[in-house]
Amino acid sequence: MIANAAEIRKFTILSWGWLTIIFGLVWAVSWLVGVAIPLLLANVQADWARLVTEICQVLTPLVAVMVFIPINAMFMVLAERRALALFTVRKGPNRVGPDGFLQTLADALKLLFKEDITPRGADAFMFTLAPIIFFAPSIFGALPLLAAVTNNHNLFQVVNLPTGIFYVLAVSSVPVVGIVMGGWASNNKYSLVGALRSAAQAISYEIPLVLSIITVCLMAGTLDVVKIAEMQKGGLLNWNILGGGALSGLNKYFQALAAGQADAHQMLSQYYPDWGSVIATVVLIACTVLLVGIYLTGACAEINRIPFDLPEAESELVSGYNTEYSGIKFAIFFLAEFTNLFIVSTIATVMFLGGGDCPLPDWLNPLTNPAVTQPVGKFFSFFTDRIHLIDPSTFFPAIWVIIKVYALVFFAILVRGTLPRFRIDQLMAFGWKRLVPLSLIIFVLVTFAKGAVRLHV
């Protein structure tokens, strides 16, 4: 029996409770704006009704994100504190609300009412602008991912771009400008050092990060996140983390074997004709697993999570670039940091972990079996067909995305509880001497291995 099983149970209940609230609310708001209002206006034959309908539908993704970001950050702060308490066998915040459920809500309210101080000698305009520049990209950057994680739902198709992942990467490289601006405008040497460290770190770790994403795009042959997510459909063996689709032939073979086809072995020799293709498959699997590691490392450094949190190293720099911030501006910095953690986890999910795909292959999965879904589906026909509250083709992918993304977030918290902080020269040496060459080598390897085997057949 685990010693703190009771605490683990409490943490689980708390997480499920918060997640239900977050996504229930986001779902309800998106439905209200995107479906309910247009449904009500469907019978009105007037110009303004059409205009309102269009505006509502175009604004749905934005409204969903705006509702999602603050509540999600509240949950993630609470989850982080409770999880860290778990790892160090403490209790964590457990007084406000039932078992600490409302702790971060109280914190957020307190921060909103605190006095907003601008230090003497600070550049007031840039001091105010910095949190905005830091926060805005996390709203705009997440938008194309929204189409990928909802299985290209009609309402969220608008935000999909042909240059999807490049857009996400370009926009998520903007926040470092906000950090440098805030650090410089604070008129505080700790802030300035934190900001400069952040800039150096972000520039050096962006290279392996982008190279790992580029390698995935090279294998997929597209930058479109929706297409990349769709390619990986059909179970664990199709995901990019396992060879970027090199194993989908094996998946087909297992399917034929399970169906009892006699020519299953022929299939295997059709997808993997010679030793070259087998070796290429093994190389691709090794490369993609390493790529996930590189991506997660680069992402951790990019968003200043703990093994790389030198910009706000509290033992050296008080609190780094946000030392002088208080009240609402500090809250915005905080909000953006946790939202960025969520966004990089979502990118990892979409690019490597199959997006909204169930780990079970289709032929094993009861949820895609019509014999099971037809009778069950009838019970929900009021929700699915009459008021369009639930769209089954979006609902299940969304659930899988939520599970995968929060698993990655939990992993990041675990890393934070486990690893010590780097020193600045170690950080730079690790970035430039290890990660950059490694990601370049993988890029070249993948370029050659990709030619010897068919991906995503």
Partner: protein
């Protein structure tokens, strides 16, 4: 843009024109600010704003990839490097800029004039056919053009970047050799560039006020 059909009726003129003038109104004052702001760091940040507006112009022209590359490389990467270089090399940030000597002013006038003349010739000599047809936002088109038609300029750009890299390393090395002579530390051989960079940076920020 197909979702904005109804909005379009409310705005006089074409939507593209409206957006163009909006972005121009943002870009030009910021560009002037880059030139005339006394605080050098501030003009660095204004430069980011200028690049951001130009990225918006590319978006209006439906060159999505170009716009994003502009944002990622110019607006963030290069300008940040400029800002950091300014912070590390110029301790007296608030010092008023000295007006240059007559020789310097003549030189800069000549360079600026030659640049203006070149750009003017380039703008006027080529024909710029207008087309209402949407450019395919395909990355493939750009990739093919870069590796076939424009392979030579592409290679020149990479050589230029390599030269910049080597130059940066040489500058950093020379800096370290001088500081080693002044105070020989026991682990001077192990110190690499970032460590020295950040040692210097603390001294800079302490002499700032």
């Amino acid at each position: 843009m197909e979702h904005l059909d109804l909005l379009r009726a409310w705005i006089p003129g074409r939507l593209d024109d409206f957006l163009f003038y909006l972005l121009a109104v943002m870009a030009i004052p910021m560009a002037l600010g880059v030139l005339f702001d006394r605080t050098i760091i501030r003009s660095g940040f204004l430069l980011i704003g200028v690049f951001g507006s130009i990225c918006g112009l590319f978006l209006v022209l439906q060159a999505q990839f170009l716009a994003l590359a502009q944002l990622m490389i110019y607006a963030v990467g290069i300008t940040l490097v400029v800002v950091i270089a300014l912070m590390l090399t110029n301790p007296k940030l608030e010092k008023e800029a000295q007006p240059g000597t007559a020789h310097q002013q003549l030189g800069s006038f000549l360079v600026a004039g030659a640049l203006f003349f070149t750009i003017y010739c380039a703008l006027r000599s080529e024909s710029w056919p207008l087309s209402s047809e949407a450019v395919s936002p395909d990355v493939q088109t750009i990739g093919m053009a870069l590796t076939t038609t424009y392979a030579l300029p592409f290679e020149f750009a990479s050589v230029l970047l390599l030269a910049a890299l080597v130059g940066a390393i040489m500058l950093a090395k020379a800096e370290r050799a001088i500081s080693d002579k002044e105070e020989p530390s026991k682990e001077a051989g192990e110190q690499n560039q970032p460590a020295t960079l950040f040692e210097r940076d603390t001294t800079v920020s302490s002499t700032r006020r």
